[in-house]
């Protein structure tokens, strides 16, 4: 993942963009929970969940290919799940002799089912999270977090973090570039690069000085807040009321999800 994709929000004027952020956040969470609750091998249910996602995505007017491509980010984690192919009890599908030993790998049918179930769950969940951040600005997500009861202080901290990670991130990039610009080789035959400990000390020092500067900055930010009347309690703009379309959407989405889950269990 790279920093250039940091702001994934894609502006458009779609019904999904216009939804109340609280409704979007909760809907996305329920969708991901539904994925987690779907039993192994309930393929029709996964197809239904995928279609649901697709329908919302098309409605949201965001690039499908972009989401699908970015949806692969959890793929490397697949390695962790590979083991279930061999460790779940079931009828053997494939026996692979391991070279240079008398052991064999046995892939079982249930193992394969579990493996693909995990992959599907993970993929659909990531796609839904991506859709959420593509259609909701981060400040709106913060508003939604406040709306669903996350402590104000924590939302405040996350908001400040979001604001200053760009500032400090730039600082890090500058430091790293300054370091790289001086990572030269000495005369031929001379060992370059220093020891691991030395290199680590340099980076540790950079981290430490970044910390000291961040402390200073937090002081200045605090001053800026105080000079505009801050006394310890962040005052937020009023929460807007939920409108009928938002409520209808939330209800409809929940009904569809519950139906899919019940159906998955009856299959």
């Amino acid at each position: 993942m790279h920093i250039h994709v940091l702001d994934q929000y894609r502006h458009a004027d779609s019904p999904v963009h216009r939804l109340d952020p609280r409704v979007k956040l909760v809907s996305a969470l329920f969708f991901i929970l539904a994925c987690a609750l779907t039993p192994d091998g309930a393929w029709p249910a996964f197809v239904a969940l995928a279609l649901l996602w697709l329908a919302v995505t098309l409605m949201a007017d965001v690039s499908l290919t972009l989401l699908l491509r970015r949806g692969l980010i959890a793929l490397p984690f697949m390695l962790a799940a590979v083991t279930v192919l061999f460790t779940i009890a079931g009828a053997p599908l494939l026996t692979i002799p391991l070279p240079f030993s008398d052991h064999t790998l046995v892939i079982t049918d249930n193992g394969v089912i579990r493996f693909f179930t995990i992959m599907l769950k993970s993929w659909l969940s990531v796609l839904m999270a991506l859709l959420l951040s593509a259609t909701t600005t981060f400040p709106d997500i913060l508003r939604a977090l406040r709306g669903i009861g996350v402590p104000n202080v924590l939302v405040g901290v996350i908001g400040f973090m979001y604001r200053y990670m760009f500032v400090l991130g730039d600082e890090v990039l500058r430091l790293m570039r300054a370091r790289e610009a001086r990572m030269a080789w000495g005369p031929p035959g001379q060992k370059h690069g220093g020891t691991v400990i030395w290199r680590a000390r340099i980076v540790g020092g950079m981290v430490g000085s970044l910390f000291v500067r961040s402390l200073d900055r937090s002081d200045r930010v605090y001053n800026a807040m105080v000079s505009r009347g801050y006394t310890g309690e962040i005052v937020w703009p009023d929460k807007p009321a939920l409108h009928f379309p938002d409520i209808a959407w939330a209800g409809g989405f929940a009904v569809v999800l519950i139906t899919i889950e019940l159906w998955a269990r009856l299959l």
């Binding site: 400040p139 979001y162 900055r217 930010v221 001053n223 800026a224 807040m225």
Partner: protein, 243 residues
């Protein structure tokens, strides 16, 4: 709230001394005042103590010795709320001033803390952004803005609070010629009392009738701009140049 009385200067500083916690003495006995309605420039070389002095007008720093009064009020805890509503302080670095995730939230921060109603807050935010020429910036995120745009938002954050005294730390630094020009016009049009620190000598010559030169934490000159600008020795001695 104390009434503004005719003779009391709006900003009154007497023999102010301040040392940072690390021991660095930034102010060594500053005495100055700014009268009601005056627009005064504060100039001096890097490290002269301009920003340090400005932080005193909002009670953010408290001098180790000496006196600071704003509108006849001492900077004691009970007065700070009133003083902070009167004095709009714009920091030198807009990244310190703009701490919210959207421009709207940032400009609304002051008015919200002053307890205004939701409509009033919206109205003030809109007004302030219009004044600095970026009326359509409300939903944008501060980190997406250019330095000059951030400077303007920083101005808006205090304008939205309707202050009668503006204390601005290098407001034109980083602005393009057009941005600088519109800021100058804005400053000219506001009838608030102003103390503006700057390295922009043409700006001083154009906008301010009076200037104060600070160096080494002390006031080394204070008087009509024309007079001080006509004294090249003085300017040069303190690392300045006439425009």
């Amino acid at each position: 709230m104390t009434e503004i009385n005719g003779d009391e200067p709006v900003l009154h500083v007497h023999d102010l001394r301040y040392a940072y916690p690390d021991g660095r003495e930034a102010l060594n006995g500053v005495t100055m005042h700014v009268n009601h309605g005056e627009k005064v420039a504060l100039v001096g070389p890097n490290g002269a103590g301009k920003s340090t002095l400005m932080l005193h007008f909002n009670g953010i720093l408290k001098g180790n010795a000496g006196q600071v009064r704003v509108d006849g009020m001492d900077l004691v805890k009970e007065n700070l709320g009133v003083i902070r509503a009167k004095v709009g302080l714009v920091f030198q670095n807009p990244d310190d001033q703009l701490f919210s995730t959207t421009v709207f939230e940032d400009v609304a921060f002051g008015p919200l803390h002053m307890g205004f109603s939701s409509e009033e807050v919206h109205h003030r935010v809109h007004d302030a952004l219009e004044k600095v020429g970026i009326g359509d910036f409300a939903p944008r995120m501060p980190h997406h803005l250019s330095v000059g745009e951030r400077k303007r938002v920083a101005m808006a954050t205090v304008l939205a609070m309707g202050p009668s005294i503006l204390v601005l730390d290098e407001p034109t630094a980083g602005l393009d010629p057009r941005g600088r020009r519109s800021l100058i016009n804005l400053l000219r049009s506001l009838d608030a009392t102003m103390l503006v620190s700057t390295h922009d000598m043409p700006l001083v010559g154009e906008l301010f009738e009076r200037m104060i030169v600070l160096d080494g934490g002390q006031v080394v000159a204070d008087g009509p701009t024309a007079e001080i600008m006509a004294n090249p020795e003085l300017l040069e001695a303190h690392g300045l140049e006439a425009p």
